[in-house]
């Protein structure tokens, strides 16, 4: 067991996969000599050379489209989009091409590739370095969407994503990169795509979350236990598509109450899908309204620290929402 932070875990996953499979390559802006603006690819350029760790022009359409061409050709590209906020020039490639080529070719072509994107706020990044834009992609059939919240999950899920035969969007909450260290199993340990995990057992209500919200929800759950005697179950979804509905419904059947938490704004957000599934499939187990706690309805995270604090969901707001639901 090694104590790693999420950034180190992501780097270790790529390093091990590049070592294991010479088809794996990395491409993106500043991923080479610099090692990425967050340092995710640090050391890999020196180890694997400037073809397998390839600095690209500032050209997200190219990063996505060329990665798809290389994937169809037989490589396993891992593309880094420097900030999830900058993915939109590549949106056409992701939505029109990468997600659809397998279906539209009747299964004769595939795009086994990963797009890694730092997302999320709380780092003074304002409107264009803070977005949580996962819902644009979870709506797209043909993609798999992964959003880990721990170092072990980040490593194990990235390894699974690189080996997966389908395109995977890998969302890394940038505030969690160096937030904490935790034990990561040594060696070739993978975490399967499509499996949620119960991060904390509880009987009174279920909190569904992913990414940075896992850390916030766990902290909130401790406060609820200490101050209210409420035992919240925290379910870390880890994969948003395909969704582990079985785990979600099992938890709701146990607790009867569901709180869905995400940082992205609420309207049409990913939480709506979870809430709808619970309402349709676990209605008879519900003992309170399925509740969403999500970011405010503004176009982005505003810059000033007071404004950013207002935007961000932290443990106190989860505690408040959970208290209300628990008391229902």
């Amino acid at each position: 067991m090694a104590d790693l932070n999420i950034l180190e875990a992501i780097r270790a996953a790529m390093d091990e996969e590049m070592e294991r499979d010479e088809r794996v390559m990395i491409l993106g802006e500043d991923v080479g000599r610099k090692g990425g603006v967050f340092g995710a690819t640090e050391g890999l350029w020196a180890k694997y050379g400037d073809k397998r760790v390839l600095d690209t022009p500032l050209s997200e359409g190219m990063i996505a489209g060329a990665a798809m061409g290389a994937a169809v050709y037989g490589l396993r590209p891992v593309a880094e989009i420097q900030f999830a906020d900058f993915v939109y020039p590549g949106f056409n490639q992701i939505v029109s091409e990468i997600s659809r080529i397998h279906y539209r070719s009747n299964g004769t072509f595939s795009a086994p590739m990963v797009i890694r994107m730092p997302y999320g706020g709380g780092v003074h990044g304002a409107l264009y370095h803070s977005q949580s834009n996962e819902a644009y992609f979870t709506h797209t059939v043909g993609l798999k969407i992964v959003a880990p919240g721990t170092p072990a999950d980040a490593k194990g899920l990235l390894k699974s994503s690189i080996r997966d035969p389908d395109p995977v969007m890998f969302f890394e909450h940038k505030k969690t990169y160096r937030l904490f260290r935790a034990e990561v199993p040594d060696g070739d340990t993978v975490v399967p795509i499509g499996k949620a995990v119960v991060a904390r057992e509880g009987k009174d209500l279920s909190i569904f979350c992913y990414g940075f919200m896992r850390t916030c929800a766990l902290e909130a759950a401790e406060t609820l236990a200490r101050e209210d005697g409420v035992e919240a179950e925290v379910v870390d979804l880890r994969t948003l598509r395909p969704l582990d509905l079985e785990a979600i419904l099992a938890s709701v059947e146990k607790t009867g109450k569901a709180l869905v938490v995400h940082e992205a704004n609420r309207f049409g957000g990913f939480g709506a899908e979870i809430a709808a599934e619970i309402s349709e499939k676990a209605f008879e187990h519900l003992d309170g309204p399925v509740t969403r706690l999500a970011g405010p309805e503004v176009p982005g995270v505003p810059f000033h620290h007071a404004l950013e604090d207002w935007f961000m969901i932290g443990p106190p707001r989860i505690v408040d929402a959970a208290r209300k639901l628990a008391a229902y």
């Binding site: 359409g61 061409g69 490589l75």
Partner: protein, 353 residues
Amino acid sequence: MASTDTRPRHAELGLGDADVLGMYRAMLLARAVDERMWLMQRAGKIAFIISGQGHEGAQVATSWPMRKGTDWMAPYYRSIASAMTFGMSAEDIITAHLAKGDDVSSGGRQMPGHYGGAPYNIISLSSPVGTQVLHAVGIAMGAWVRGDDVVAMTSFGEGTANQGEIHEAMNFAGVHNLPVIFVCENNGYAISVPLERQVAGGSVAARAAGYGMPGVVVDGGDVLACYGAAKEAHDRAKRGEGPTLIEARVVRLTSHSSDDDQRRYRDPSEVEALKERDPIPMFANELRANGILTDDGEETMRAEVKAEVNEASKRAEARPEPTPDDAHERVYADPIPGGGTAVPLAPVGGGGH
């Protein structure tokens, strides 16, 4: 450059008589399939046609140097003759246009004109124009990373040349000298909008200078000129000298598609004059002048092509229709909740087979 060589042009280019006759036959076949499909569209058998008529010379000639089974093609919606030169048969093409269940391009999932074929290294095409150009660059990048002797070719119209992704693709290919050939088939119209309203400066090839690659303008009616440009581009790519942009000035003999009527925006005299630049009679005249093509030879060839198209359309029409119970399959490459089946991964260098 004046040549002291008195041999015919094709011999100067290293082509034998059989090669040029083969190219001419490929053009005739593509035209015959195209014309047959218009008839099938008028008869209500095919929903929609987007034609390659007038582009066949440039397409056959630029695809001719590509090595079947090794090199790759990222086509566009007029690429009928390119796709056939890469290996799609008349039956493959008609089957795809009929959207039959076992069509090699999509199993009935895509509209007509969306070429693709894993057995032929033709990557599947979508509808937003220009996306395929980045796929060709990605294939070339893959070959470059792996050190494979593979060239990727892609084609697109001059209207598409104005998409941002074309700039992204050419810039990146230029930065790394990737083995890719960009073929712009400039027919002067993006549906109804003429060249002077689309392309600043009037030339797509001129943009190549900005990407550090050669930009070559060729007459799309001059088959051997197109071949010479493509052969040189292919040789350069193989030598590791990087990409080439070829702009073939072609004619669009039909309306944009079966849903368009070009008489609404082109003068009848202009449309009539296009026939003078039809690559099929132009190439036939050259071959006749060199004594390679005879009247008897041409008659035999046209009879063979007609029989081939008859047989192909008969067989294509007899193929099975797709069924809705299959429509949720092959969404993902591996089994996940909700459907999908496993397919083997593409091997490096020969993907998609």
